[in-house]
Amino acid sequence: MDDKLTTKLRILADAAKYDASCASSGAPKRTAGAGGLGSTDGMGICHAYTPDGRCVSLLKILLTNYCLFDCAYCVNRRSSNVRRARFSVEEVVTLTIEFYRRNYIEGLFLSSGIIRSPDYTMEQMMLVARTLRRDREFAGYIHLKTIPEASPWLIEQAGLWADRLSINLELPSEESLKRLAPEKEGASITAAMGQMRERIAEAKVERRRFSPAGQSTQIIVGADDTSDAALLRTSDTLYRRYALSRVYYSAFSPIPEASPVLPLKQPPLQRENRLYQADWLLRHYGFDVEEIAEGGTDGMLDLEIDPKLAWALKNRHRFPADVNEADREMLLRVPGLGKRAVDRIVAARRHARLRLDDVARLTAGLKRARPFLIAADWRPGALTDRADLRARLTPPTRQLSLF
């Protein structure tokens, strides 16, 4: 690999790293033909972890970080002083293939600054995906970050080659968008999401290939003053209205060359973490946004304890739940019991009455679960209602944030 390409790679990987999504999951199972390269099994693999604890699964780069837009939260906005570079289509294809052949990555996650016009940029990205798939018979994962301002037919063309398309919502409200991303428009973002949803659904019915792993989006947390409850309401709407497969929350991170309109301090990383937990409760545990919000104060999640525990502490009258009797929905609401632990409990209790020791072997979260559970040999008694229960269950503060 020559030095010029390495330098470009450094600049364009650095410019892409603030995008949170990295998942390479959800693609249909496939393997390349005899002359091709690659496979997907629906799960996705993390090939490495960087010292920030994040997984490296895809080659996550920008096609270029030149940009005509001026979004305040973005390191690549046109008024920023960062170094600029631009890959050719062939360079991205070569990097993807050569990294993949050495088992460094699962595939490509390509995004781009807007150059010349949204259509021109989108077309270049589409060409990368098409060259990989059609000319190089690449069967690995391809995720394209769609440009919502591009013409609909280009997005349609991109969907023929990519496993996943995504459109970043970036900011949860039209007002913030106007203030921080003057060239963007909420309406065109949601219109593009709507269009994508239709195409994905039609293609599924007609058994055609169109972004088979669905679409996802990213919301930046902490660049404006939107509350957690409002963020979750936005996500909830996105899941329902546009059938998104994932909403990513990206705690606004200080960026080099920060714009003066941004807050000076980043929000605690814990906030991002709690939002993901709440998002999980929303999608898999049968909670609704208002219930989750009830666990916190003034629309903000409790940063010290997880949202399920926060909800349970405020709804103690609904506990304790009996591991041997309670239905699945109720067990899912017990702090410390995950989905898999609940499945195991339900399977195991068909054969024997479970004691507390048994439960301990089925979940790692027994300490949090104990005050909310009844087992064959255990009743929490007054523990459930103790005034200091919260203090007993709050983990010692661990400084997740560097500041």
Partner: protein, 484 residues
Amino acid sequence: MGLRRIALKQGADLDGFRLATRRLVAAGIAPHDVVWCAEDTPVLFPPQAAEEASPIALPRRVAELIEVVVCHRDPERYALLYELVWRVLQGERALLEMQADPLVHRLELMQKAVHREVHRMHAFVRFRRTKSRPNGPDHFVAWFEPDHFIIEAAAPFFVDRFRSQIWSILTPFGSLHWDREELRVGPAARREDAPDGDGFEAGWRSYYESTFNPARANPAVMRAHMPTRYWRNLPESAAIAELLRAAPARATAMIERDAAAPAKRMPEKAVAAMGDQAPASLAELNRLIAASEPMVSSGSTRAVLGEGPVGAAIAFVGEQPGDQEDLEGRPFVGPAGQLLDRAIAEAGLDRARVYVTNAVKHFKFEQRGKRRIHKKPAAGEVAHYRWWLMEELNFVQPRLVVALGGTAMLALGGKAGPVTRMRGRTTFLGRPGFITVHPSYLLRLPDEAAKEEAYRAFVSDLRAIRRIVEDSVTGGAADVRRSA
């Protein structure tokens, strides 16, 4: 009876364990009377009659668990597995569902550990390119040190993924070799047998360094997912120490740096031009369509574009190009097109003054022998092309849009339905429109009388269309008539 000593091969000896288990069960020997051990060259059981070792019926989950757990490096694995088999056969058929049982719990943990190690092998193997002989094909070789006896369990993944390249994975427990056709399991290898570098490793390390965000350093999570024992075989791990050392300073610098005066980059012209990306003319739009990928099944020769003058009073929209249209690259030149021409002439319209196009621009077909049989486009495919059709009509600006058949109706109005019942005047999203049959429908009718009748009805629709257009004009007459 004393203790029975069973010797199995080193590593994951599934066959040996299966055979031993069959014999022990047949002989009714309880787990506490068996001692299991692994040897480099075990003395196998003396050959015995097959009926003594007949297979045992086990629940599928038990069999699956055994297959995985024999790969674990714990010397106790065979004893634990035999105890499981024994208890299942003694009546505890659903034992595996009791994950709270200490034995099951332990085996589950072992199973998980093996699965995790297989997964990590998939993740952390790093190939280096070399040549097995000068001018020979590329050979990708990796050195890996797994924690359990998993190389064969991990192999199918590499075969599927790297089928078209020649590769080897060398480990202290054995090696895997793929020659594009066959997988060979070879003997243990040494680190020195693998190449010591690769031209892309520096690039990969650069990528790894650049994708790290110093404001979020969290080495504990990194180590949990990527334990240090793998690091010596990961080229990127050489960067970790320095990244962590420099991280706090880099992050603080980012925050403290007074937002340097932003470059006064306000490329007004470029930003203004950016909003103006829509094609400016029908010709430009057609260039885009021609360059596009077929959304329908591939194999069509080209995109077939619309034809006729911009500003034509009538636009006819058909379904999709057929075999002949695809070959010639022009709409409505096949049998249905010829019939349309005839009917247009008979209705007193001029084919040269109307615009004709299709809802779907590529030919969708099914190959049957040498013939390409027309296939109806699906609703989603029609929707794909809709943007183009709408743009096209925006340029042509016809006074009346005629949908020929159901597909055109769906494309124009967004709604499907029986053409015969919806025939006649309508509006397509605000555009004055008219629905009639597709001329190919006339060709498909079986008997001549029906064909003739339908043709008459079609011509009378076209006459009605002519009248609508003529009436819609105030002032200058709509020039749609066939010149004498």
